[in-house]
């Protein structure tokens, strides 16, 4: 891990084992609400971080959507109106003009660090 990535760390937001595979959870970082998604595969766990706010409704709910794949892309479907957001890029798969912010995540000693 490079020095540049760790400088802006806000400190760990949670332990990795507090996140269930393929089920989001929200964290509060200052006033910012961030949705975390843990995906486990053959390479081990990966955690993605997106803004928790659903841009279509303004409600803070994205962490509570169902996680799925299309091809190799992982996404979360908003629990309100089912628009899908790419976990890696924040792009909305159903409306290319919409995107939510994504944040860099590092896992250090089974703790989750988010650059938000």
């Amino acid at each position: 891990m490079s020095a540049a990535q760790t400088i802006h760390d806000t400190g760990a937001v949670c332990r990795l084992d507090q996140l269930s595979p393929e089920r989001g959870a929200a964290v509060l970082i200052g006033e910012r609400q961030v949705a975390l998604f843990r995906i486990d595969d053959a390479h081990g766990p990966t955690v993605y971080a997106l803004d928790h706010r659903d841009p279509f409704t303004g409600a803070n709910v994205l962490a509570r959507g169902i996680v799925g794949t299309t091809g190799d892309r992982w996404y979360v479907a908003s629990p309100l109106h089912k628009q899908r957001f790419d976990l890696a890029t924040g792009e909305c798969l159903d409306d290319e003009t919409i995107r939510v912010d994504v944040h860099t995540v590092n896992i250090v000693d089974a703790h989750v660090h988010v650059d938000a």
């Binding site: 949670c14 269930s20 595979p21 959870a25 964290v27 303004g58 803070n60 709910v61 479907a77």
Partner: protein
């Protein structure tokens, strides 16, 4: 025919099926605004389905039988006068006079008065206890008379089609039914000796006593002056508490005779092939009262054709002609298929017949074929009418007869069968003869985007009459879709090639208990928001315990995951179960106190319970702890599962109630609570026919009768309302519950995802006999399995909130922020309105004082 600028005054005499069809034909041609229409009907009710009249004894109501779309008259500005018969026509003044004294002027007059039953003038034919079988009023009178204590046997005079229907009615009314027919066999007009014998065997096995070659000399009265027995020539008399005449019909042409119109030798208004009266261009006649070339037609399909001819002419078209009628008939008489089509008796020269007769199975099939070409010309089918639609089209020359004509005569169950592809149907071939829909118009509808049976039915009306053509419509639809390259894929999503139904079968067979097993065995990739909840629901339907256990938690939609319903601002609503809508004052007070303490918005739901809104995720366990302490449990408002069983107070309080509807509703709600299904399920129980619980708009509706319960299924409210279908009548408590068990289990096994019972049942072709067969006669041999499905559900049911609160790890999931378990979402803002809190609206942000 009209003064320029003025609307044509159209008077229709008779509001039966054919009279009403004239109006709908005009409406479809969008010309009704050119007419001032007045329709006179002598019956107290508007047009109804006289063909299905006998279903009245199967529990159908007058409303069920109506063929008039509610609001039709208002929408189209048609004046319908019911319960007022026209008694005179003045053709020079162009007026009709009704019994009420009303006089209506016409520019054009259409006679659609139908026919009346012929009552042979034998001694005693007018005694109390003698009836005819024509109107709902007749049937009500038969029912009331049959309920008398001294009436135990009933006799129908006439062994034709309608006579046999009447005999079945007497049977359903609990009488010993007799049929007396003058000819040597039943249905002498449609069937020959062999076919008639097969039919007779069937109906005798059902307890109908048949007397053929029997001539009635007198109907004799008993000491009370009402009918007591039938005296026959040269045979023993028959005891009869009631006599029903079904000895043919006569056209009701008395109005025409009274105003000097020509009538045929055997009755009926003489018309040409445009249905115009021969001696008055301003008068038309349609239906059973019209005589073309001396002939009257006693079937509804030719009547509909006549209505279309007149409607076209009134709309300004020329050249529309009545070209004769297809007199083919197919019906189920006392559960027996009977069909007759084309030249059924082989009357054309150079024809011969091929017969398949299996007395053991009660099947008799005869085809009449051309000696030289082998082409089918007609036939009669009893006991198994497989292939009727296609055979009928062969007889009319619309489709070619295949080489091996002998293969057609054996039923499919015996290796025969009519395997003709829908592709070989020419466009002109009629597929639905009730609604006169051709293969061509179906193909056109498919190409214009009707890609399901439901869409085809609403677009073309095919299959909405007797429904006998639905198998053919379905195969034609699939064939067209395939040709158009429209993928008829039943794949759930990109991860599963299976439909929900197939996946259900696989999971059940392999006894999978987790998502990982199901995905590894049957899927690809990692799943999505389509397949995950489907698998979660199937696993729950099959009784796999707590819905958030193991890897199943991640499959659930947010509502199932939070065991609450997410609202637009990300808060949740809390809905405790209130079985049957019955709640104690103490529980009401407890809910009120909980709502007060947590500042929840409170509203009564349509399903007779109480919705508490505005709970944040982290508040849910504390709220539910209080609800469970007050003796209530999860209402499963969040799940695709049973919602509520609505009820009225029933006989306990209501002066009209005939059963304890509340207790039944509670029993049903407690039985099916938590049962996971393809979509939500709503039920209701009404304590009498007034139907205050609105059961006929529910997936399962129960209506009390004097003798038990009537069961309705597949109703729906909401955006696509569907009036529920009557499945069974006068069930006792145990019969009712068993029938609902099987209905629900069958639906859960075989419906598509997010398909309500209404859509599912429509996709089954709204096939009531099929569904009755599965539920009551175990026609699929799965009744034991269906019963076991519900038994498993009852064994494994738990209140999901009680189960959650018992386990600290489960409770720990209910936080808004995993790193700040006590923090609330600061952006949830409520404002006060009418004494309660509601979410702030976007335009109000920054302008109002926030309350919390």
């Amino acid at each position: 025919m009209q003064t320029p600028g003025l609307r044509t005054r159209l008077v229709v005499v008779g509001h039966g099926m054919v009279g009403h069809r004239l109006l709908t034909e005009l409406a479809e041609r969008e010309v009704l605004d050119r007419f001032d229409v007045t329709v006179f009907g002598e019956e107290p009710r508007q047009a109804y389905d006289r063909v299905a009249l006998s279903s009245f004894f199967d529990g159908a109501t007058a409303d069920d039988l109506s063929v008039v779309v509610p609001g039709f008259a208002e929408t189209h500005g048609v004046r319908v006068v019911s319960g007022d018969a026209v008694v005179a026509i003045d053709r020079s003044a162009k007026t009709v006079t009704a019994a009420s004294g009303e006089v209506a002027l016409y520019d054009h007059l259409v006679l659609a008065t139908g026919s009346s039953p012929f009552v042979p003038p034998m001694p005693g034919h007018g005694l109390p206890g003698c009836f005819v079988y024509r109107t709902i009023d007749d049937l009500e009178a038969i029912r009331d008379w049959s309920a008398r204590d001294d009436v135990r046997t009933g006799v129908v005079i006439g062994g034709g089609l309608l006579g046999l229907e009447a005999a079945n009615a007497l049977r359903l009314l609990g009488l010993e039914p007799h049929v007396v027919e003058m000819a040597p066999r039943l249905m002498p007009v449609q069937l020959d000796d062999g076919a008639s014998t097969a039919l007779r065997n069937h109906i005798e096995s059902l307890g109908v006593i048949v007397h053929t070659d029997a001539r009635t000399s007198e109907i004799a009265a008993g000491p009370t002056g009402s009918v007591q027995r039938l005296v026959l020539d040269g045979a023993d008399p028959i005891d009869a508490g009631i006599v029903v005449f079904s000895a043919g019909i006569r056209p009701r042409d008395e109005l025409a005779r009274g105003c000097g119109l020509a009538v045929g030798e055997r009755g009926g208004v003489v018309v040409d092939d445009t249905m115009t009266a021969l001696d008055d261009p301003n008068v038309s006649a349609i239906g059973e009262v019209a005589a073309i070339e001396g002939r009257c037609y006693g079937l509804v399909a030719p009547g509909y054709d006549m209505a279309a001819v007149v409607a076209a002419r009134l709309a300004g078209a020329t050249g529309e002609r009545f070209v004769g009628a297809d007199l083919s008939t197919k019906l189920k008489l006392l559960g027996v298929d009977v069909a007759s089509f084309g030249d059924a008796f082989g009357e054309t020269p150079r024809s011969q017949s091929i017969v398949w007769s299996d007395a053991r199975e009660g099947v008799h099939r005869k085809l009449v074929v051309d000696v030289e070409t082998g082409a089918v010309r007609g036939g009669m089918l009893v006991g198994d009418a497989d292939g009727y639609q296609t055979l009928r089209l062969m007889a009319s020359g619309d489709v070619p007869t295949p080489e091996d004509v002998r293969g057609l005569v054996a039923p499919a169950s015996d290796g025969g069968g009519v395997a003709i592809g829908p592709d070989s149907l020419p466009d002109v071939a009629p597929v639905c003869s009730c609604e006169n829909v051709t293969a061509g118009s179906l193909r056109e509808a498919v190409s214009e985007g009707s890609h399901s049976i439901g869409e085809l039915k609403s677009c073309t009306a095919a299959g909405t009459g007797c429904g006998g053509c639905l198998p053919l419509v379905t195969s034609l639809l699939n064939c067209e879709l395939e040709k158009a390259g429209v993928e008829v894929s039943t794949a759930l999503c990109e991860h599963f090639e299976h439909s929900r139904v197939e996946l259900f079968g696989l999971i059940r067979f392999h006894r999978h208990g987790s998502w990982a097993e199901v995905l590894a065995a049957h899927g690809t990739g990692r799943g999505c928001e389509i397949c995950k909840p489907v698998v979660a629901s199937i696993l729950a339907s099959l009784g796999n315990g707590y819905v958030l256990e193991g890897d199943r938690a991640a499959l659930q939609d947010t509502n199932d995951h939070a065991l609450a319903n997410m609202q637009r601002d990300g808060t949740y609503s809390v809905v405790p179960r209130v079985p049957g809508g019955e709640i104690t004052p103490a529980q009401l007070i407890a809910l009120g106190q909980i709502a007060t303490d947590f500042e929840l918005y409170t509203k009564i739901t349509g399903g007779q319970r109480i919705d508490l809104f505005g709970a944040r995720l982290e508040q849910l366990p504390a709220i539910w702890e209080r609800v469970v302490d007050a003796g209530m449990e999860s209402g499963h408002a969040y799940g695709k599962s049973l919602r509520t069983v609505k009820s009225c107070v029933g006989e306990t309080w209501c002066r009209y109630g005939v059963q304890d509807s509340t207790s039944m509703a509670i029993a049903l709600e407690l039985r099916y609570r938590g049962l996971r299904s393809p979509h939500k399920i709503k039920m209701a129980v009404s304590g009498c026919a007034r139907e205050c619980a609105e059961a006929q708009s529910k997936d399962v509706g129960v209506i009390a009768t004097e003798k038990g319960w009537n069961l309705y299924v597949a109703g729906n409210g909401g955006a696509r309302p569907r009036h529920a279908t009557l499945l069974a009548t006068d069930l006792d408590d145990d019969e009712l519950i068993r029938a609902i068990d099987r209905f629900l289990a069958y639906y859960i096994r075989t419906a598509d995802r997010l398909q309500r019972t209404a859509g599912w049942f429509e996709e089954l072709g709204a096939d009531v006999p099929h569904l009755r067969g599965v539920i009551f006669d175990d026609s699929l041999g799965i009744a034991d399995e269906l019963d076991a499905d519900i038994a498993t559900h009852l064994d494994t049911y738990q209140c999901e909130w009680t189960a959650t609160l018992e386990d600290p790890d489960r409770v720990a999931r209910f936080v808004s922020f995993v790193n700040a378990p006590d923090a609330a979402d600061p952006e949830i803002v409520m404002v006060s309105e009418r004494g309660q809190l509601r979410p702030i609206r976007d335009e109000e942000r920054g302008t109002l004082v926030s309350i919390r």
